[in-house]
Symmetry: none
Subunit: 171 residues, 2 copies
DNA sequence: TTGAAAACCACGAATTCCCATGGTATCCAC
DNA sequence: GTGGATACCATGGGAATTCGTGGTTTTCAA
């Protein structure tokens, strides 16, 4: 079953790189880590191979396993196989949540997303993202429709797409 | 099966953000939460990513799952996919009804819709909305046809649309 | 041995849980 | 139909946890 990461929240990043993980996210990580000892500290995977966006994408152990399985199913002859491996397996780390519900962001990852003292966590369904506050606001601005010059058109196009992919079985 | 949220009602919001959910809505939420233990407290999802309107849109677990499924079906190449995720997954929360049939509105959401001590619940079929009393009255005024300068024409156009989309199967 | 990383401890604030109350609608027996 | 009992509903307050955060100590490798 896919994850259910929802909501956005901001947390402090201390000089050691320690950041609290939003409590609801933590619970979801536990649920989706089969090796997590009952009431213990779950592990999860951070992928930093998204070159086009200054953010880290976080997967549950289940989610990471699903990607690994997909890669294994790909024929080695497919040139995308190795690219995908580089993106999701080479450029990634497995981390463990600590006793206080925090994660320790390695310096390299902090630099990657330009962390300044705060980190934004953004739920994305089966994954969640970590951003610097500055970059997140920019991205959010791009996403938002309200101040968009053609806000109405964008809204309509989003609604149309949502409808298109909604399974409308009537009972 | 889609929900059946009907009616409007006003409830007090206490300093902790606690609000009673209209009883009929509560029952509908139970019915539509597959994980709700028999006679227990259902969960549901509040979406606050509607930037153009100062309100919160509430989905049953079923409804939220339907949207999540639609998102999963959307190709990642579709730029609307991420916008929709931001709107319906990032800018949302899962809440659980408490033992007394209340929900706890996080401070952020209260600010978002400018809650002053009362909240209006408005049934919208498969979802329901939460408004501040002030904004609700304004919206209600906009929607109303009676005082519209061209009230008759609007009414006719509404009726025509209703007819157009009415499936005339007799039961 | 000395710097960095990991484990351990500690605390205020916010949130959750639990219990209590008054009011209203519903039901049932007489 | 009338009185009383019963269930459900909306709301309030305080106690108990949890959460986010900051230090301090320990461990380990260079």
């Amino acid at each position: 079953m896919p994850g259910d990461f929802r909501g956005e929240s901001i947390h402090k990043v201390d000089p050691k790189g320690r950041v609290s993980i939003p409590a609801p996210f933590r619970h979801e990580l536990m649920r989706a880590d089969p090796n997590c000892p009952e009431g213990g500290n779950p592990s999860f995977v951070i992928v930093y191979g998204f070159d086009d966006q200054p953010m880290l994408e976080c997967y549950t152990m289940e989610g990471a396993a699903r990607i690994a399985a997909a890669i294994r199913r790909m024929p080695r002859s497919n040139p995308n196989r190795k690219r995908i491996q580089r993106k999701y397996q080479t450029k990634s780390v497995t981390l463990q949540v600590d006793e206080n519900g925090r994660l320790v962001l390695p310096a390299k990852l902090r630099e990657k997303i330009g962390i300044d003292g705060n980190a934004v966590f953004a739920g994305m369904g089966d994954t969640f993202e970590i951003w610097s506050t500055a970059d997140y606001e920019m991205d959010d601005g791009d996403m938002a429709t309200e101040f968009n010059e053609s806000g109405d058109a964008l809204n309509e196009s989003m609604d149309a797409d949502l409808d298109r992919y909604t399974d409308d079985v009537v009972f």
